[in-house]
């Protein structure tokens, strides 16, 4: 075996377990980098992708040329003034680029952290898919799909794959940020491993499932870096509308020149509107605020998801999340806490509660399942029974098996005869067990069992030898605050459907307690798929979470499918989002992020267009001041001079982009209220506010310019 000797060598890279979960704050380094990037992005070939800002860049070049002409002494206006307009037009472009670069910068920092985890490692390539087979050491880059490798304690898993043999605890903090190790084992729903994570104990035989460079980590890095970021459908539609506005305003400004020339001839006074003013007017009118921030909004939306530890495989999925009408939620882990808890002991006739509690606790001492632990805790809290160590009482633990469907202990008291055989299990299993021994199942206990079932809880019957002692009441605990969240969702127009394998009786009770709109009981995987299809046929958008292989078809069918990171490879591939925290409740946040993304676009578009009103009032009287002094009646802001009016409008237009970068990155706050209320609030803030704000802003800038004697 070469394992030991090579071990140290192969551990390189383990220190790179940087946590993704920690929100990457904006560091001064990021600001510096964004500033450099905003200049790099001036490349016209890059700018062309954003028609609105490209027009501004062309305008900047044009005014710069006019400024040089003015410096040479043959300008259409004083050089300081053309230069001032030109400078601020350049700032407008740079500010827009800066917002995009800043949004990207955060992602880049995260990608950097991930890339360190992906460093080249060495893999033990097995000749045959068995643990005891010979292996050779190869670089992780040389691994191909279907190769089989051995990973032992301390090794970094070299590529994404599926466990075909072995059980091991794995440190996945490199991708999840979660420091607690997770169990990975062959078969079942926990068989997927991710390249870049580290095996802490034991060993695994893993079949590689990803092509080199196409692994989960690689895809995540690409996604975060934005290399694969494509414009989402709604973003494309909005871009079309913005382009249309840009074209219209382009024509408005171009035709203003002949209009002005004619007016000068007809009025017999003044000079035609200057090119500088036309460019300034154009830049002020086209929707630069939203045009400049649109890209940053999209990147920031993706980024917000990542900070919630959710990786989306496409921006389209985030948008779809905002539209979801139906949420399919697995009962366990989403609606209820993952595990049932013991809440009560109901003894059989003639048995004291203490005796039942004592037996129940003894039967559960070695039971490491959460249910078992909750029984121990309940007995301790209610009856003061201290948990005993199983070896102290010379007990032998009988684990749960699929055949017996019971668990318990056998206790041989020292120096005494008569073994105590305590068992706990489902009513039918226990009934069969005692009838086999010649005992009988008391009708009163049977009644208790039925009552508990009707309440949506699970009864566990405790028996000692052939005497039924009573029933443990195991209850699903609905998560705290979940009812209020479902009520919010209902207000947003989203229907919640609980999916559970429980029978109808149990499901009804839990559904009522949790406040879901509907439920699907005794659900099989194919039922889930059918339910999704039915909703989609009715035109609804469905979101769901899943982790198991049998969830994969339903995940592939759902419009927004969130796979748990602990889930199987097939579930993760079928989904369009992966939740690294494996928290099914995350779906609710995802929906809100989707809505936030659309709302931020909408509010800034409205604001941008509403701004135009004030800009007209600033620029039009200024532009035609020499031809039609009467138009000064429109100068309701009382701006000092035509030059200061135009400069103020241009400066306001540039500064507003900077002022709104935080909003673009953070997103508009989402509140769960009806659509009409949301529209009213947003129209008031961004529509009416968008009309008023520039009047104040332009006036203030004008006063400042006047104070600086720049008018």
């Amino acid at each position: 075996m070469v394992t030991q000797t090579k071990k140290d060598e192969m551990n390189t890279g383990t220190q790179s377990t940087q946590q993704l979960k920690k929100p990457v704050g904006l560091t001064s380094g990021m600001y510096r980098r964004a500033m450099v990037d905003s200049i790099v992005k001036l490349n016209p070939r890059v700018m062309m992708k954003n028609p609105v800002m490209f027009v501004v860049e062309v305008g900047s070049v044009l005014t710069t040329a006019l400024w040089i002409q003015a410096l040479a002494g043959s300008g259409e206006a004083p050089a300081w003034y053309i230069g001032g307009v030109s400078l601020w037009l350049w700032f407008t472009v740079l500010f827009a680029n800066f917002s995009e670069a800043l949004a990207e910068g955060r992602g880049k920092a995260q990608a950097e952290a991930l890339r360190r985890a992906r460093k080249d490692t060495t893999a033990k390539l097995l000749k045959k898919p068995r643990r005891d087979s010979d292996f050779s050491l190869v670089s992780s880059a040389a691994l191909k799909q279907h190769d089989v490798m051995l990973v032992e304690a301390g090794d970094i898993i070299a590529a994404d794959g599926e466990v075909i043999e072995g059980v091991a605890s794995v440190d996945e903090s490199a991708i999840t940020g979660e420091s607690a190790p997770v169990i990975r084992e062959s078969g079942g729903d926990r068989s997927a491993v991710t390249g870049g994570t580290r095996v802490l104990s034991d060993w695994l035989v893993v079949r590689v499932t990803a092509e080199p460079g196409g692994g989960f980590l690689d895809r995540m890095i690409k996604m975060i870096e934005g290399a694969k970021r494509q414009k989402t459908p709604n973003e494309i539609a909005l871009n079309i509308l913005l382009a249309a506005f840009t074209i219209i305003f382009l024509v408005v400004c171009i035709t203003l020149l002949p209009f002005s020339i004619y007016s000068v001839q007809a009025a017999g006074q003044g000079t035609p509107v200057s090119l500088t003013v036309l460019v300034a007017l154009l830049v002020c009118l086209i929707p630069t605020t939203i045009g400049g921030l649109l890209s940053a909004i999209g990147i920031a939306g993706m980024d917000r998801l990542i900070r919630h530890n959710v990786i989306a495989t496409s921006g389209r999925a985030i948008e779809a999340a905002g539209d979801v009408d139906v949420l399919l939620l697995d009962k366990t882990g989403t609606v209820t806490l993952g595990n049932r808890m013991a809440t009560e002991f109901t003894p059989a006739p003639g048995v004291t509660k203490e005796r039942l509690a004592d037996a129940a606790q003894l039967a559960s001492l070695a039971d490491e399942t959460p249910e078992g632990r909750s029984i121990v805790v309940l007995a301790k809290e209610k009856y003061g029974l201290r948990g005993r160590e199983i070896h102290e009482i010379a007990a032998h633990f009988v684990p749960f098996t699929a055949q017996s469907r019971m668990s318990g202990v056998d206790i041989q008291p020292e120096g005494k005869n008569g073994r105590r055989m305590i068992r706990k299990g489902a009513a039918e299993a226990i009934k069969a067990y005692i009838e086999e021994q010649g005992g009988s199942f008391p009708p009163a206990v049977h009644q208790t069992v039925q009552d508990i079932s009707r309440l949506g809880a699970t009864p566990l019957v405790v028996v000692e030898n052939k005497n039924v002692l009573g029933v443990i009441h195991l209850k699903d605990i609905v998560k705290g605050g979940i009812k209020e969240r479902f009520a919010h969702l209902r207000k947003m127009g989203i229907k919640t459907v609980m999916i559970t394998g429980d029978n109808r009786l149990t499901a009804t009770a839990i559904a009522a307690e949790a406040g879901v709109d509907d439920f699907l009981a005794e659900a099989k995987p194919e039922d889930k798929l059918k339910l999704i299809r039915d909703y989609q046929k009715g035109g609804r958008l469905v979101a769901m979470t899943g982790d198991g292989t049998n969830d994969a078809p339903a995940l592939a069918q759902a419009d927004v499918a969130v796979a748990m990171n602990t889930g199987t490879q097939s579930a993760r591939e079928a989904a369009n989002m992966i939740d690294l925290d494996s928290n099914p409740t995350k779906l609710l946040e995802i929906v809100e992020i989707g809505k936030q993304l659309l709302m931020t676009r909408g509010t800034l578009t409205t604001f941008s267009i509403a701004n135009d009103v004030a800009k007209y009032f600033a620029i039009i009287p200024a532009a035609f001041a020499s031809t039609y002094p009467a138009l000064n009646a429109l100068n309701i802001m009382g701006l000092a001079t035509p030059q200061s009016a135009i400069l103020s409008a241009v400066i306001f237009n540039a500064l507003i982009i900077v002022a709104l970068i935080p909003l673009a990155l953070k997103g508009v706050k989402y509140r769960a209220v009806s659509a009409v209320q949301l529209l009213r609030t947003h129209l008031l803030i961004y529509g009416v506010g968008g009309i008023i704000a520039p009047f104040l802003g332009i006036k203030l800038i004008d006063m400042f310019l006047k104070g600086m004697n720049l008018s």
Binding site: N234, I248, P258, G538, T606
Partner: protein, 580 residues
């Protein structure tokens, strides 16, 4: 504004709105091919037309086939009208022996009447033979209006239907619109107009001796006047109902034989917006939610009433230049008061401004007063109304489908504001819809501003401006705004019957009618295929006062923002120069 004026406006609006529901419901039955009370009389005619034209009325077509049918039908109409004008001297019903119309004017007029613009560069009684008027212009008055209604019916089906491909059959909608809606209404209106004194004959012009003799420009004595005759009533009725507006006589409905009495004036005004208003209700019925129709009507009515109030106030306040001279312009028992230049004493200020506002709103373009003579603000109202894209009532059919394009833009932004991919009446609004909607809102300002700039740059354009200066600028802007929106009303004050204006105007009319109708149908073709998105609490309702307000804001922002700089150089500066 006087109390009497307000009363007349209120009376007009009440009568109009009262008629919306009965007529709208009837038209919905017509478009949905349901039985109406006219079936016993018109059913056989309808079936005969289908047999004659080899149309299978049950055959449904997709948007492309319908667009091709619409274009083919209009091209044929265009050529017929052109040929009639060029050949009228060889054809019958020409008692005055009027010669061939010039090629450029014939082109302009042919386009004008096919596109439901009805811009008139010519004077009717001195240019067109009775045959051209009846067979060419009156027929086009019917079918151009029916074309608009048919396109609207197809578009509404695009919204009413889901997961389908076909929109209906253009030929059937065209036939039924003409036969069941336009023809009966026109016959009734024409008979009433005849009873009021509108002429309807084929006689040569008559000549009468003047009671009060006068002298002409050269100082020669004038003792008699020639009075033009012709089949006017039949054409006037449909020119009003079909939002055509092309007058039988040159001065349109200011002519006493085209609009003799207060009753004829009221009915003619009412007919201008009647069908366009009622179609809103038809829309509501066809999409299965009449609230949607009322919401659109409310948005249109609010814009109309506000602009009407501005125009009436501006005209009733009189001319500040006269006020300075001490001229009394107050309304009194002896005079209507206000600015009466270019207005008929028979109608006064209020009936002139109501007419002017509705004729502009509904893209009708007929006039009973001269808009050129309005005060700058009054004139600006007419310009602004057209520049909103003729969607405040607008042409029959075309106005509503134009408004629905604005609804789509409004819904798109509002959808974003509430955090949902936008939807309208169960259809998701995606990038294809936005592409078509953007094209539709883009073309009009491009055409109008571009051609106005061309007119002001070229000597051919500047040569015939009668009032240079800000007013002359308004005249050119108005000319292209009118033709570029298929309105057809004339500001006046400009010699428009020149090759330059006939050609550029013709192009503007072609673009604004057909370049818009085709993407509109394409949009319908895309909407009809979409799956129904069911309504939920997260759906933004599109019939609430809030949405109506938002729709008005979108119409005004998209329309007015584009034209504000141009308006500043025309009526706005003219107003400030006048008041200073």
């Amino acid at each position: 504004m006087t109390f009497n004026g307000i009363l007349q406006i209120v009376f007009f609006m009440v009568v109009l709105l009262a008629l919306v529901r009965p007529l709208g419901a009837f038209m919905a039955r017509v478009f949905q091919r349901e039985r109406t009370f006219l079936d016993p009389a018109l059913g056989p005619v309808e079936r005969f037309i289908y047999r004659l034209a080899r149309i299978n009325p049950d055959e449904e077509m997709d948007w492309k086939a319908n667009a091709v049918a619409m274009l083919l039908f209009n091209v044929v109409g265009l050529f017929v009208v052109y040929a009639l004008q060029r050949l009228q001297q060889y054809l019958p019903f020409n008692p005055q022996g009027l010669g061939a119309v010039t090629p450029d004017s014939s082109f302009n007029t042919a386009v004008s009447f096919a596109s439901n613009t009805n811009w008139q560069g010519y004077g009717g009684e001195t240019t067109m033979s009775y045959l051209t008027q009846m067979l060419g212009l009156t027929v086009q008055n019917f079918v151009s209006a029916a074309t608009g209604m048919a396109v609207l019916a197809l578009f509404i089906r695009g919204i009413a239907r889901h997961s389908m491909k076909t929109l209906g059959n253009f030929w059937v909608d065209l036939t039924r619109s003409t036969l069941y809606i336009l023809l009966p209404l026109a016959i009734v209106l024409a008979l009433i107009l005849v009873s009021q004194g509108v002429v309807q004959n084929l006689s040569p012009y008559t000549s009468v001796s003047l009671v009060e003799q006068t002298t002409d420009g050269q100082g020669a004595k004038v003792t008699e006047q020639i009075i033009a005759m012709g089949p006017a009533a039949s054409q006037v009725a449909i020119k009003q109902l079909g939002t055509n507006g092309g007058g039988f006589f040159n001065v349109n409905s200011a002519h006493p034989l085209e609009n003799p009495t207060p009753l004829s004036n009221f009915l003619e005004m009412l007919s201008i917006v009647l069908i366009a208003a009622a179609l809103c209700y038809t829309f509501g019925v066809m999409v299965g939610d009449t609230r949607q129709g009322w919401a659109l009507l409310a948005a249109m009515t609010i814009i109309l009433v506000v602009l009407l109030a501005v125009a009436t106030w501006s005209e009733q306040s009189g001319n500040p230049a006269f006020t300075k001279l001490g001229v009394d312009q107050h309304a009194s028992a002896l005079q209507a008061g206000g600015n009466m230049e270019g207005k008929e004493v028979r109608f006064g200020v209020v009936n002139s401004t109501i007419w002017a506002t509705v004729t502009i709103a509904a893209s009708n373009g007929s006039v009973n007063s001269m808009h050129d003579s309005y005060m700058p603000l009054g004139g600006m109202v007419t310009l602004v109304m057209m520049q909103l894209g003729e969607v405040v009532f607008g042409g029959v059919g075309s106005g509503l489908y134009g408004m629905l394009i604005f609804v789509i833009v409004a819904v798109f932004v509002a959808g974003l504001l509430v955090g949902r991919t936008p939807e309208y009446l169960g259809h998701k609004i995606e990038s294809y819809e936005m592409k078509m909607a953007s094209l539709l809102i883009l073309i009009m300002p491009l055409t109008v501003l571009g051609l106005t700039a061309l007119g002001l740059l070229m000597d051919a354009g500047k040569a015939t401006i009668f009032n240079p200066g800000a007013h002359g600028f308004s005249e050119v802007l108005y000319l292209f705004t009118s033709q570029g929106n298929n309105n057809g009303s004339a500001f006046g004050g400009i010699g428009a019957n020149t090759p330059f204006y006939n050609l550029t105007g013709g192009i503007a009319m072609l673009i604004s009618r057909y370049w818009l109708a085709v993407p509109t149908l394409a949009l319908a073709g895309s909407l009809v295929k979409k799956k129904l998105v069911p309504v939920s609490a997260g759906t933004l309702p599109t019939h609430t006062p809030l949405f109506i307000f938002w729709l008005i804001a979108v119409v005004i922002i998209v329309g007015a923002l584009n034209f504000l700089p141009a308006l500043a150089l025309g009526p706005i500066v003219e107003h400030f120069m006048m008041v200073q």
